[in-house]
Symmetry: C2
Subunit: 769 residues, 2 copies
């Protein structure tokens, strides 16, 4: 855990340059616009420790891992979002000495991530080896208005000298992924060009053949007056720049405006990428940096209007929640159904930047409530578009008849991870993908989605479940052998309660969906059944049989659901009896010891009770919570939010707040000592859920919005907004009361603190707390 | 399955050149002498498909595998025995055209492995692209008399031409392991030299710093008359040769005698390797090829006198069993306790050439019975020497107080494999290492071994078991969670019966050993107890408690031991109901499907019943055999021999013979379609056991040799010899009777077919069958 980020309501602030923290800050201060993003690397060359990262959404590489023990059905590769061109680079030499913070004496270093207006700012004074002192201030952002572009203002002031200065803005595709398996480089250059005032490099990825043109234009101002340039044009493989020689005098400032575009063959004809890049650059160059920055601020203002959470009386919490919301919207804007949300967004390489069940289980509710419903819908359509691949994936494992197993990790619908205990066995992800359809339809009321897309996916998943169980003669029940549940500190267990439950639930929901679509969208019903060759009689009766005779491990004495068969053979002990030096256990214990222990990485039975709350009594939930919570180590960032929400529901305010705190500033305070790898982007949605679903008590039952807010005692108040169907609602909780403001024209009837309440359009309701 | 090896009692014969079979033949025709060995690659250059392999026992490299999901406690590397210098190479050009069987027209190709005399012979006629036709015959062997050397006779006859000929005998260290993870080469040259008549290259391995000097001398005879040579001396990195130009006339023969030495820093001062190589070469050069070959035949004759098994009336079976015995003695001679038996011997790269539990469970009985007892003792001392590393290995996994976990795979005592489900969980290997001590002491009567070495190892292993179990409140028993049993088609199961049983057995045996050593070797007792800080009171009572309350999964209804908890939840079906296209399942099913199935890769419960036969009634063994045998797919080469032995004991002759057949010609007939990777060397010992322990009914009970032979009905007779303590016994079984010949001076009392019988020295006993 670290504590160096200065608390502020709207800004993330670092003061002082600590090279040892540089990778952490590079992650935290990352910027992005949903289509591209990058770590907070420096513009000028930096020879110190750094993880260089520039990413373009969806541009990945199937990196091969070679191990001796390949097993049948293993995918051949581990996909990773590629480090793409460095488009921020501006080399600076003063009197022949490179400006390099690893070599200069640095003072007054300050980094600010302005979340309100969406830009990154950095300023410092550097004293070079030859005594020359410069003041630098850079500002940059990835434009969410012109989302294939970014812009930089980079100002250098000569403090105590007059000397020649060389400036080299460049595009560089000669980059690596730090985690590439064979130190391989993944880009081949197609062409590059430098001309007076700009340059571009066009390159393609090996194997996947994505083609990207990265281009830049720039201008340089001397004391506010634009310079006429006569640069040296530099072109080498994967690299193109302008090298400008000038002179800077004591007290004077040179300002470089660099505009860049990343144009990808995903969105444009491969042969026109250079032209498109030129047009994009001309557009933003003409617009100018100041105007772009103004538009950026305006766009962010709109996002904040929809998505902001205000916390009163706790600046750290306020900063934390805004940081989470900010990073989520930097990562995914929901406009392109080909894209998804990598666990680290654009902030690092780990987990390959690919799609996990995090999206359905954690991110979907955030986007449903803070954005227009088409954003959440696009997340669902992403999986619909991968259905055929999911069927092929299941076939590889021996399933038939259109059974679909969605991959654990994917870029293009194929499984792209290769640990058998995860990809073959952590099949509960299939349930989360079904649940997301239910969750979306329940929240948005868009039942038509079932007819158009949802039913097909549900049938594929239910077919998988019905084949994945087997009849146990010994138990006279259907059992599910050899799975890994959400708690990845168990592998290859039998009858994981959560998986058995969500499997059975999926089949039930699919049966309901079949009835609904048949009744309400009969032509879709016929279309889908024909397309997937569905045999209603035999398949439905098989599912009903499995639902009826599914086995659920349960302990009669303790009256709790058992995480899996044999769980009570373990030595049960609470986490707080563990020696501190054992924590986190995944860094201090052998894998073997972890597997044998009772300790739970992330909510498992409790994840199920959270998803299916309505199906369990409060007493049941409480008993299970009290049994499992003490054994949970929360070494997945996805865990505490679920515990926080359940604790809120159970009235365990202190526990709810404790769990909330573990997620809210996870990255800002580098709680798990791993933020240097990137931020925990998908789990940030969990923080939002802990506030809205936990403290706010938001839940949808039978089409009706329920709110049941309370105020954590550490806070003076908080407010959040939700989009619910055609309503925008603001919920404002203070020490005295809850105020619900209906910002729309339409009336809304909801259950507020257990009571049916109607709030007219543009009206509000107050309720003493 | 293939069927191209010509059946012959003493020779392995291939006729006709089939490039597609070349890798398989390279494995089968491998030669070795325990210290070095090689695949049957060609001397002349071959541009076709080939796995080039020359190995020096114990020279390995810790090849790194890089995967994204490293888990705590994982070893960093996978060790592999390195491909060492090519010392057999002789390039030939005739009239400027290289002799290369991939390019020439080949006829009369014949490869013979002469097992009786221990050499490899190859002859062929090749018609080169220019029409020139040559007849070639090569003979070579790795000398078991001068075990750092090998020799080749290579004769070329010009059939239809007279032309210039170039001959280049060489040493080449520029070699690769095909399975290296980063296409890395593992040898660095230190120096090389070529002089008239010979050359050498001295090289060292990266990281492990083994240094090897490979050297050669040669002579060339023209029509039987030695030529005076004036070769061109060729030296390049890792390579040194002589290039000789001569002329060959129609009908004439040139014969090259090449002598080579591989001198390793394991056995000699690193700085004297070149000198030693020179001395060795001078020695064998002076001896000459014919004399060396004569000595080789004599040495093999001695081995066969001790170890041969004769089978009458079945040439294929005779060839099979001799091939197995031959390969075992080519691989391991037992003279060096630093060496062990890699699963593929010197015949390929797979499994890294390292030590597995195969040694204790399968190979030890073979060497105990066919060689002097010091050979088996050396195999035990190998593990004793690794005890400290085994303790460190257990510490890495969280065990304390001198608990020892022997590695699953090792070269130097460290774990050098990195699949968690194997290295962390397949801990039954620890039991096999304890069992081997028991087996050795039981067979040889060398109880003093316990005092000197055995007890220390047993204490370390028992400490491990006592910590590895945990108390289950639910079961009120000690359980062992998260293991992989011998059946690797299950992973991370709870309470594998075999593992629980061998754990408990080890503790019991250790308690007995403590008593025995205390009573009979009190100074050793005190020495050992002090050395390992043994606390008799607390440790013994803990072990007794675990022994008493150990849990063994058992089904009351079926009255069988359960392979593990939950086994009866599986869909149970016999292998013979499987569709043929599913077999072998490890090539046709996903790993996931295999894990969930009931199918058993290799004997598991049955392995335990085989080891501990005395502790179970025949009925019990039969019930379990009949339950598990039908579900066993035998996709480990180590499996059928155990089933064969048990079937023999149960009087199921047909099943015993069926299982025997699966191992006896496994490689000769390429049964599993994988002999191209190398031979299944360690499992060859299982074939020997199936004959001697199965058909011969050999077992030791309470210090007494038991024999209970029967004759498989397909055979006319068979005979084998065993060393038992100070006795050499020949057992000769015919259709009519069993003849037991005591070849020693001493009398022997044994139990023959259930009856105590004494055979005087140099006497024999006959018994109608």
């Amino acid at each position: 855990m670290k504590d160096y980020i200065i608390h502020d309501e709207w800004n993330i602030i670092e003061e002082g340059f600590v090279p040892e923290l540089n990778r952490v800050s590079e992650s935290i201060f990352s910027i992005g616009n949903g289509r591209m993003g990058q770590r907070a690397n420096f513009e000028e060359h930096y020879s110190g420790d750094s993880l260089q990262g520039n990413y373009i959404a969806g541009v990945y590489y199937p990196d091969k891992t070679r191990v001796g023990w390949w097993k049948n059905g293993y995918p051949e590769y581990f996909a990773k979002v590629l480090n793409a061109s460095n488009w921020i680079g501006i080399n600076i030499w003063i009197d022949g000495v490179a400006l390099d913070l690893a070599k200069a004496k640095v003072s007054d270093f300050r980094r600010i991530l302005n979340m309100k207006e969406g830009y990154l700012e950095r300023s410092f004074t550097a004293t070079l080896e030859n005594g020359n002192q410069v003041e630098v201030k850079s500002t940059r952002f990835c434009s969410i208005v012109d989302d294939q572009t970014g812009a930089i203002e980079y100002a250098i002031k000569a403090k105590n000298f007059s000397a020649p200065i060389k400036i080299e803005p460049y595009i560089d595709f000669d980059v690596v992924n730090e985690d590439s398996n064979y130190d391989e480089k993944f880009w081949n250059t197609i062409d590059q060009s430098a001309s007076n005032g700009g340059s571009w490099v066009k390159a393609s990825t090996k194997k996947t053949n994505f083609v990207v043109c990265s281009a830049m234009k720039y201008s340089i101002f001397h004391q506010g007056k634009e310079l006429t340039l006569n640069p040296e044009l530099v072109e080498k493989e994967k690299y193109a720049s302008n090298l400008i020689e000038s002179v800077i005098k004591e007290g004077e400032t040179l300002t470089i405006f660099k505009y860049a575009a990343n144009i990808s063959s995903q969105n444009h004809d491969e042969n026109k990428l250079v032209d498109v890049a030129g047009e994009e650059l001309s557009g933003i160059y003409a617009k100018g940096f100041a105007k772009m920055k103004e538009e950026q601020a305006e766009a962010w203002k709109n996002k904040w209007t929809e998505a902001d959470i205000v916390i009163k009386g706790d600046v750290a919490a306020q900063q934390g929640i805004r940081f989470n919301i900010f990073q989520l919207y930097q990562t995914y804007t929901g406009e392109d159904p080909r894209l998804n949300i990598g666990p680290k967004g654009f902030t690092g390489e780990k987990y390959g930047g690919s799609t996990y069940w995090d999206t359905e289980a954690y991110c979907l509710p955030f986007y449903m409530s803070t954005a227009d419903s088409h954003v959440a819908r696009n997340l669902l359509v992403y999986r619909y578009n991968h259905l055929q691949k999911a069927i092929e994936n299941a076939e590889k494992l021996g399933f038939t008849n259109g059974a679909a197993l969605y991959p654990m990790v994917t870029m293009n619908g194929e499984e792209c991870h290769n640990e058998w205990e995860i990809t073959f066995e952590e099949i509960h992800r299939n349930g989360a993908i079904a649940y997301a359809i239910y969750d979306y339809a329940r929240y948005t009321g868009d039942q038509a989605y079932l007819a158009e897309y949802g039913l097909e996916v549900l049938i594929g998943i239910s077919r998988f479940w019905s084949q994945r169980v087997n009849w146990s003669e010994a138990k006279q029940k259907y059992v599910m052998l050899g799975v890994t549940g959400p708690n990845e500190y168990e592998n290859n267990v039998n009858n994981n309660w959560y998986t058995n439950y969500i499997a059975s639930w999926t089949m039930k929901y699919t049966l309901d969906a079949l009835d609904y679509v048949k009744e309400n969208h009969s032509s879709d019903y016929n279309r889908v059944l024909e397309k997937v060759s569905f045999d209603p009689d035999s398949e439905k009766s098989k599912w009903n049989e499995v639902i009826e005779k599914m086995y659920y491990p349960y302990d009669e004495e303790k009256q709790v659901y058992l995480q899996q068969d044999g769980f009570l053979d373990k030595v049960l002990m609470p986490v707080n009896e563990l020696d501190k030096t054992s924590r986190p256990i995944n860094q201090n214990w052998s894998w073997d010891r972890i597997l044998r222990s009772c300790f739970i990485k992330q909510a498992d039975v409790l994840q199920g009770l959270y998803f299916f709350e309505d199906n369990f009594s409060k007493d049941e939930i409480k008993r299970n919570f009290e049994f499992y919570e003490p054994m949970t180590v929360h070494e997945s960032s996805l865990s505490p939010c679920v515990h926080s929400i359940l604790a809120s529901k159970l009235g365990m305010e202190e526990k709810a707040y404790e769990m909330y705190l573990r997620t809210a500033r996870l990255d800002l305070d580098d709680y798990n000592n791993d933020t240097e790898d990137g931020c925990h982007t998908t789990s940030m949605a969990g923080t939002w859920m802990a506030v809205v679903k936990g403290f706010g008590g938001m839940v949808i039952k039978e089409g009706m919005l329920h709110l049941d807010p309370f105020l954590p005692s550490k806070w003076e108040g908080y407010s959040f907004k939700i989009n619910f169907r055609d309503i925008v609602l603001k919920v404002d909780v203070s020490k005295e009361n809850v105020e619900i403001i209906n910002e729309s024209e339409n009336d809304l009837t909801l259950i507020l603190k257990g009571r049916e309440t109607t709030i007219s359009g543009k009206d509000k309701k107050e309720l003493a707390i």
